[in-house]
């Protein structure tokens, strides 16, 4: 156990402790979520009331609107979901669940956080450079994102310190940071498991974290190469994506979506892991189909590498190829359906304690189900011709990414809060927060499906130019979505209040294992000290031994992984 004294700087700022680094990722992620959420409020308000002055903002011109939408998308995916779901949850839980003291490379871990922090600074700075933030859509499609096309000699420094170039640089830094973090996760998992912790005894969350970083590592290469070429197009005047010089704009779409679609699974896997830990604990029942879930995920990872072009059905790709990608897309729904159904089967027949984390887990299943099933419409190449680039797509991916990011995070937050702070949250405020989030989210996203089906295109600053998109019910639905979005954002203040008050004044937990779970992190003190465990645990069984058993003449309904039974 590390006993050396730590100054404030080495303990909280340049810390190499995985828990502090996890908290740092979490804080940066939450700050970025606040920024991106505020942007969402501004442009949603504008969509519902195109001519009105927006409270706390003022008027909104189309360019700024495009910038806000672009930044909202980029921030939410790369600077909110990635750090919170992958980096923060992974950092907190991989070493503790594996029963070890820290990551394999604590220094590299710290370095990857600071590179990430730098990327966050750069992306925020990109909003304030002369010429304004980047407004070409978070997917960065050239030629729009190149600005200077047909310009063989741009002003290098001016082009470099422009919104678009800085966003690309920030993305590059972010990818580098996540690659470093991912290597760390994998090495830790392979190398630092507690004695007795074979692969088949690892908690499903650790499996999913590794799937997440493996998927990231195998898919991110093309977009790094593609983004470098895009940056060169902007700052050096090359013509990689300039059709007039033999380049090809579609090339970038291929490189981007080769990464972009697996990226959804990079974000989904950690949440599936969190849910997969919470459901057995609160159902008091072993996880259904542990091995099946692992194999299904591996199949899904392989498939995810061959589905990217379903984002380009309308982009003039070969129609026969489109059928191939449509089949791939539709096939990938099957392993994920298996995983979701396995979770339902875990709940079925249990003895369900509907504590707050369980509410979030069930809320995730219900909401994500809609997101997954609406993917069927878009996976069908024929219907996608109509639905592509309409609000239907917007509603669909909010129905997937919102539950993944926020239901997943809040489930993890409430579940592990007692462990990592040693205090309990306020249950009533937590339930209020859950129901507010759950209901307002549905009310926000459901109307957008219908607007999209009626042919409302996405990414438009207002629809006043199109008579057929300004019918009364269109306007009303936009208002409902906007008001719900605002209420959804306001609901998060309940959580913030609960978080801060519970952190200082919450009731101290009487047990290190308040949920009576089996995984190793519950065997550490709450909160775990630097080094995590007083005695490093040894593992004797899989993490899901629930169900009534006799131990030493006493009835127990769970046996922790490190408890040695008398033979």
């Amino acid at each position: 156990m590390a006993t050396h004294t730590q100054s404030f700087w080495t303990k909280y700022i340049f810390s190499q402790d995985h828990k502090v680094i996890g908290a740092q990722y979490l804080i940066v992620g939450l700050i970025m979520a606040a920024v991106a959420g505020f942007f969402a409020y501004v442009f949603r308000y504008h969509l519902a009331y195109p001519d009105a002055e927006i409270p706390l903002w003022g008027t909104l011109d189309p360019r700024t609107y495009n910038m806000l939408v672009t930044t909202h998308g980029a921030l939410m995916i790369f600077w909110v979901a990635m750090p919170i779901l992958v980096a923060a949850i992974g950092n907190y839980l991989i070493p503790t669940m594996l029963g070890t003291d820290d990551m394999a490379f604590p220094f590299l871990n710290m370095l990857s956080f600071w590179v990430f922090f730098l990327s966050a600074v750069v992306v925020v700075a990109s909003l304030f450079v002369p010429g304004g933030g980047f407004d070409g859509g978070w997917t960065l499609y050239p030629p729009l994102s190149v600005d200077a096309y047909l310009n063989t000699n741009p002003d290098f420094w001016k082009a470099l310190f422009s919104g678009g170039s800085l966003v690309i640089l920030a993305l590059a830094l972010e990818f580098a940071s996540m690659l470093m973090g991912g290597i760390n996760f994998m090495v830790t998992t392979i190398n630092k498991r507690a004695r007795g912790m074979s692969f088949s005894r690892m908690p499903i969350l650790v499996w999913f974290m590794n799937f997440s970083v493996v998927t990231f590592m195998f898919s991110v290469g093309p977009v790094i190469a593609g983004a470098l070429m895009l940056l060169l197009d902007r700052v050096a005047g090359t013509g990689f994506y300039d059709a007039y010089r033999g380049g090809d704009p579609i090339l970038f779409q291929h490189l981007f979506w080769f990464f972009g679609h697996p990226e959804v699974y990079v974000l989904l896997f950690p949440t599936l892991g969190v849910i997969g830990e919470i459901i057995p604990t609160f159902s008091r029942k072993p996880l259904f189909g542990y091995k099946f879930i692992i194999w299904a995920s591996i199949v899904a990872i392989v498939l995810s590498m061959v589905v990217w072009a379903h984002h380009q059905f309308v982009a003039g790709i070969n129609p026969y190829m489109a059928v191939f990608f449509s089949v791939g897309t539709i096939l990938i729904s099957i392993p994920f359906a298996g995983i979701i159904l396995s979770y339902v089967a875990t709940i079925f027949g249990g003895n369900i304690r509907l504590e707050l984390p369980m509410w979030w887990a069930v809320g995730f299943l219900a909401t994500f189900l809609i997101g997954g099933l609406t993917g069927l419409y878009l996976g069908s190449n024929t219907f996608d011709i109509y639905a592509h680039d309409t609000s239907f797509v917007v509603a669909h991916f909010h129905y997937t990414l919102f539950p993944i990011t926020f239901f997943g995070f809040f489930a993890a937050f409430y579940y592990w809060f007692p462990k990592f702070t040693g205090r309990m949250y306020n249950d009533f405020l937590g339930k209020l927060h859950f129901w507010g989030t759950f209901i307002f989210f549905q009310l926000f996203a459901l109307p957008i499906f219908f607007l999209g089906l009626n042919g409302q295109p996405r990414r438009m600053s207002d629809y006043t130019a199109f008579e057929t998109l300004m019918q009364d019910w269109h306007i009303q639905f936009r208002e409902i979505a906007t008001i719900s979005a605002i209420l959804l954002i306001l609901t998060q203040f309940i959580w913030l209040y609960n978080f801060i008050v519970s952190l200082w004044k919450g009731k101290r937990v009487s047990s290190d294992n308040p949920w009576q779970a089996n995984t190793l992190e519950w065997q550490a003190p709450s909160p775990p000290p630097h080094g995590n465990f007083e005695v490093y645990p040894e593992v004797y069984r899989d993490p899901y031994t629930f169900g009534v058993v006799q131990v030493n003449g006493k009835q127990k309904d769970f046996i922790p992984q490190n408890e040695k039974l008398p033979s």
Partner: protein, 198 residues
């Protein structure tokens, strides 16, 4: 370290991490090369441009890198026996080869630029040969990215030499050697694609 006393297995974790890093790097280069190949198939005129590269200098550079890889392997071998002087000697030779490679590369760049084949080749663009200009963009992009990795490798070897001089971290010689082999391997792919395939 603290950790190894509690963990189940003891795979050298530096080696593991380096292999993962190499896998990531190969995917980045691999995708850039695939993009190059796809466009190459689309534009047969790139063959004429590729003929303008300096084949003999490229071949010489390939040889230099292969020799440097040999020295890196020898350094690794010596590091296993903790032969400080040998390690330092072989690593210096590796660095020397790397510097020769960079020198030759710079000469090639300078020569091409004076002939108007630059990153953007505005002359070719003005002459309506946009696709030909794109070849040179790829030439500089791929070789430049590779040269950047050579540079990083040289700096890393410098650090390792400093450690070894102070009798520390002999096992890191293996890591930097692995990295250097990867840099070599990438060049072995780039050389035929950019210089020979005419």
């Amino acid at each position: 370290m603290q950790s190894t006393t509690v963990s189940l297995r003891r795979v050298p974790q530096g080696r593991l991490a380096m292999w993962l890093l190499i896998a990531g790097e190969l995917i980045i280069f691999g995708s850039a090369i695939v993009v190059y190949l796809l466009l190459r198939l689309r534009y047969p005129e790139w063959g004429a441009e590729a003929a303008k590269t300096h084949l003999s200098l490229g071949a010489f550079n390939t040889l230099v890198l292969l020799v440097s890889s040999y020295f890196a392997a020898k350094a690794h071998e010596a590091s296993l026996k903790k032969l400080k002087d040998q390690v330092l000697r072989y690593l210096s030779l590796t660095v020397l080869c790397g510097l020769i490679f960079m020198g030759v590369k710079s000469y090639e760049y300078a020569e091409k630029i004076t002939h108007g084949y630059t990153f953007t080749s505005p002359k070719l663009v003005e002459a309506g040969q946009g696709a030909a200009a794109l070849f040179w963009s790829f030439y500089y992009f791929l070789t430049g990215l590779h040269a950047l990795h050579v540079l990083v490798g040289l700096i890393a070897i410098g650090f390792i030499m400093y450690y070894v001089k102070n009798n520390k971290h002999f096992h890191r010689v293996e890591l930097v050697a692995l990295y250097w082999h990867m840099v070599d391997l990438i060049w072995i792919f780039l050389f035929p694609l950019l210089y020979i395939m005419q």
